[in-house]
């Protein structure tokens, strides 16, 4: 008997756990569950921080745990535990059954055992040995922070790196049985510039999924120049005057507005809650005809890409909006059960302690026909948002985004830098006002926090023009 076939009373990563997983799923079904799902993970993470010319923090972490979800009708009970023994997992199943108050197991569902193992780990097993060592990371971060030392107005220089390696096993009573290894690396640079009473900051973040060599290829000089320029441009900037005006949003991270303001409203969790204005708008026009928006998990290396989602489904490319018409919602298992929208391979969670939910992956507005200059030339008085900060969306769909680097547009030309701008609006009202899309689509990595925790995503867009939006300022 091969070692991988040894019957175990505990989940062991790298071994075949089929018998044990089937036993646990059978147990749940026997007790009356409609559906049983097991998600098990093993993590190996590290982060490094360089400040000025020193490494000031190295933080490795590792862990393991399981999340067990039981469905009965449209309700679900979710239990998470660090105990990966048979006893611990069965106890979690019992707890979920008890929570759902399942007593009747007469008309129980049939479980025919797990399907053939879909093993996505095979080409990835060596990733942990291929990623840069702490020593290598530290050296490159120090070179990067040194590159930021461009004048005496830069008073704070930081470089940060983090790597997460997550090995997962997913099994459920519909036969799903899959394993995967996910690698995410991200690196960022931050500066604060100061001169007398003036202060500004600049930051850029880069990230990849898979691709263990990616950090080595990162062009830190280009990144440092970009962050430095941004902070210098903004150092003496005046505060923007508030008001309604046309804006041009830059490509890459400019896509965060679509992600936050519209993307979240296209997740089935929002339909379940009754908090999206787009619930009954399928095949109706919800945006300007120049807008086509996509959510997918398949672009190689993109921060939101994955081989298989956290519910064992391969991700698909979902065209959410086509020429302004709403075509699809982003759906997970619970979303399909409760709203009828087919799963899209978008069931995602931060880790084992969260139940999966419908979440975005790589989400972007497709490119159009215009150049960036065409967009700016079309505005006589407005704002160019070159770099966006974070933002948020309220329970009624109102959004608010900080502009990190902004410039006034006067008579079709970029003029002086302005700070303190925020963009305020509602997706339903702003989407029809995106009248021009550029031809320079680019993506940018980010982290999205929502109901199932923080997950890696990509946002993106070409340059876009919004005909009118409220700009908050002083």
């Amino acid at each position: 008997m091969l070692s991988s076939q040894v019957k175990s009373n505990e989940i062991v990563f790298g071994n075949c756990n089929k018998d044990l997983l089937e036993e646990i799923i059978f147990y749940g079904i026997r007790l009356g569950a409609d559906f049983v799902e097991i998600f098990i993970e093993n993590t190996d993470n590290a982060s490094v921080l360089a400040e000025e010319d020193f490494i000031t923090s190295v933080s490795p972490s590792f862990g393991r745990g399981a999340g067990i979800r039981i469905f009965k009708n449209k309700k679900d009970g979710f239990v998470s535990t660090n105990d990966l023994t048979k006893h611990g997992l069965m106890k979690s199943v019992s707890q979920a059954i008890e929570m759902l108050d399942i007593k009747d197991n007469k008309n129980r569902e049939v479980f025919n055992g797990l399907n053939k193992h879909r093993d996505y780990t095979l080409p990835k097993k060596n990733w942990i040995n291929e990623v840069p060592s702490i020593h290598e990371i530290s050296e490159k971060l120090l070179v990067s922070t040194n590159s930021l030392k461009k004048n005496n107005k830069i008073i704070t220089r930081k470089g940060s790196y983090s790597r997460s390696l997550q090995e997962v096993i997913i099994a459920s009573s519909d036969g799903t049985y899959a394993s995967d290894i996910r690698l995410h690396q991200t690196v960022g640079l931050n500066v604060i510039a100061s001169d007398a009473q003036y202060r500004s900051s600049g930051s850029r973040r880069f990230g990849s999924a898979g691709m263990p060599n990616e950090f080595r290829l990162w062009d830190h000089e280009k990144a440092a120049n970009d962050v430095f320029e941004s902070s210098m441009n903004m150092l003496y900037a005046d505060y923007v005057d508030a008001g309604q005006m046309p804006v041009v949003l830059a490509n890459k991270f400019g896509g965060v507005i679509f992600h936050e303001a519209c993307g979240h409203l296209l997740e089935t969790t929002q339909i379940e809650r009754g908090t999206t204005p787009f619930e009954n708008k399928l095949n109706e026009k919800i945006a300007h005809e120049s807008v086509t928006a996509i959510d997918e998990g398949i672009s190689e290396g993109s921060f939101g890409s994955l081989s298989v989602d956290d519910e064992g489904m391969e991700p698909e490319k979902s065209v959410l909006i086509k020429d302004g018409i709403l075509k699809k919602f982003i759906s997970d298992r619970a979303g399909e059960l409760r709203t009828g929208h087919k799963r899209t391979g978008s069931g995602r969670r931060q880790n084992y302690s969260f139940a999966a939910a419908s979440r975005m992956r790589n989400t972007f507005i497709a490119k159009g026909d215009y150049s960036k200059e065409d967009l700016i030339n079309s505005i006589s008085d407005g704002l160019y948002c070159k770099s966006m900060g974070g933002g948020s969306v309220g329970a009624t769909g109102q959004f608010n985004f900080a502009v990190e680097e902004g410039y006034l547009i006067k008579n079709g030309k970029l003029t002086k830098p302005v700070k303190g701008a925020t963009l305020i609006g509602e997706a339903k009202e702003v989407m029809p006002k995106i009248s021009m899309c550029g031809n320079d689509l680019e993506l940018a990595p980010g982290f999205c926090g929502s109901i199932s925790g923080s997950v890696n995503v990509t946002v993106g867009q070409p340059h876009i023009k919004v005909d009118s939006i409220t700009v908050g300022g002083r």
């Binding site: 000031t56 190295v58 933080s59 590792f62 679900d76 009970g77 604060i192 809650r273």
Partner: protein, 450 residues
């Protein structure tokens, strides 16, 4: 394994690896929560969680750290080994030591130990609360965000010098966030959160009433004209802004160059002499209090602003040593130790000042904007620059009437805000993040749609 056993196991494993100096922090928790949707259980959750963070000092006295959820014998050994490897990259410019106060006595607040009420009771209570909230007003159509939870946890700190502290506690939370809809109007939302040591301590009725009243009060809404206004901050919103700019009192932030203050800022006048601000993690009303911080330093009350001037900074062990003072009980436990406030208490000092005491949110008849709640803090606050631009929920008061404000932001500078405080009302309100009276500020910019 209990916390004493874990300490023994870490000690033995460290000995076997020839690691002489170490400390650790751990938390062990059991959490239960429910959510409902129109009378039906939506999601029921239970979790058992353990997190262990170990620091080791190598022979050069450099620190390395590792965090794990695996507290098996092999997991602990692996964590010690990884921390030892990480210590090769320890910060050579800023040493870390055990807190000199890690063995001092701690004050543990007395409270009756609560037992889990169980998922079924949580579900019953939340269902009833949802029904009552939906029935409270015809315009309230749903309660899209709701939850009732209870947590039972233990926190531990121990080190190789013999320090050992642990405490156990329970906490429960209820949140109800309602959505109201009326024909030809935009949907409006608001809500309420209540905390208690146990579910039976939570005033569910007042949570329902508050969520309902707040939501309904926003039904009559209008856009506001962009301009500068006299502002009244609710206790919740003023605490939000103080917490967002707490780097002004944070020694770690000062050393990192991301604070508006510097080493010499003690004594700097920031505001009216009528303003006092404390950090008081052990306050009797603070449900989330902890008797010691991540480094084992006892939690204590600390004056941050005394009669308008900066009085103290909050410290970890290493920042305190650099500032030639003692740790204040505000440290985390990390490779680079973070520092953060516990529970802010804002009060009016006894100093005579020229406050405009006629400004009272319940009786003032002139025009002002009442800011009930500030949103999107992570996006709209530039702590290192002192600026903020934040969306808010609130009302415009004019001629004795109030109208909810639709989609607006308030923008300004924290130092300007503190300098322009024109009144501090006398009565304080206990909130989930601290205690504060209503605070009036003159001339802040509001951006609206009108």
């Amino acid at each position: 394994m209990d916390s004493r056993e874990i300490t023994t196991q870490i000690s033995e494993a460290a000995d076997s690896l020839n690691l002489r100096k170490w400390d650790y922090g751990a938390s062990f928790s059991n959490d239960y929560s429910v959510q409902v949707d129109k009378g039906e259980a939506k999601q029921l959750k239970a979790s058992q969680k353990q997190i262990l963070t170990i620091r080791v000092w190598n022979q050069s006295n450099l620190v390395g750290i590792t965090t794990t959820s695996d507290i098996s014998e092999s997991g602990i050994k692996k964590a010690l080994k990884q921390a030892n490897i990480a210590s090769d990259f320890g910060n050579k410019n800023e040493s870390t030591e055990f807190s000199p106060l890690a063995k001092d006595p701690i004050k543990v607040k007395e409270f009756k130990k609560r037992s889990p009420v169980g998922i079924k009771k949580l579900l019953t209570l939340l269902r009833e609360a949802e029904v009552k909230l939906l029935k409270s007003h015809e315009s309230i159509k749903s309660v899209p965000y709701n939850g009732l939870s209870e947590s039972f946890f233990e926190r531990v700190y121990a080190n190789s010098d013999g320090a050992f502290r642990s405490y156990s506690k329970s906490q429960a939370a209820l949140y109800l966030y309602a959505r109201a809809e009326e024909k030809n109007n935009k949907p409006r939302s608001s809500g309420s959160i209540k905390l208690g040591y146990g579910v039976d301590d939570i005033d569910i009725e007042s949570c329902i009433k508050e969520a309902s009243n707040k939501t309904i009060s926003h039904l009559n809404y209008s856009s506001i004209k962009t301009d500068k206004y006299l502002i009244c901050f609710s206790p919740e919103s003023f605490l939000t802004i103080i917490n967002a700019f707490s780097s002004m009192f944070n020694a770690r932030s000062i050393l990192d160059g991301v604070s508006l203050s510097n080493k010499n800022s003690i004594g700097e006048k920031l505001s009216t002499e009528a303003l006092n601000i404390y950090d008081d993690g052990l306050h009797e009303k603070n449900i989330s209090s902890s008797p010691f911080d991540g480094e084992g330093t006892p939690t204590k009350r600390l004056c941050l602003i005394n009669r308008g001037r900066i009085e103290n900074f909050i410290h970890s062990e290493s920042t305190a040593r650099i500032f030639k003072t003692i740790p204040t009980g505000h440290a985390g436990l990390g490779s680079k130790v973070s520092v953060s406030p516990d529970w802010i208490v804002v009060e009016k000092s006894e100093e005579k000042s020229d406050l405009k005491t006629s400004l009272d949110h319940s009786s003032y008849e002139g025009e002002f904007v009442y800011i009930e709640e500030l949103n999107a803090i992570h996006a709209g606050v530039r702590a290192s620059q002192g600026s903020f631009s934040l969306p808010f929920d609130g009302w415009l008061y004019k001629n004795g009437t109030k109208v909810s404000i639709e989609s607006a932001t308030v923008a300004g500078d924290i130092k300007y805000l503190l300098k322009n405080i024109v009144n501090i009302e006398s009565s304080q309100k206990v909130t989930t993040s601290g205690i504060s009276p209503h605070i009036w500020v003159d001339e802040l910019s509001i951006t609206g749609d009108a």
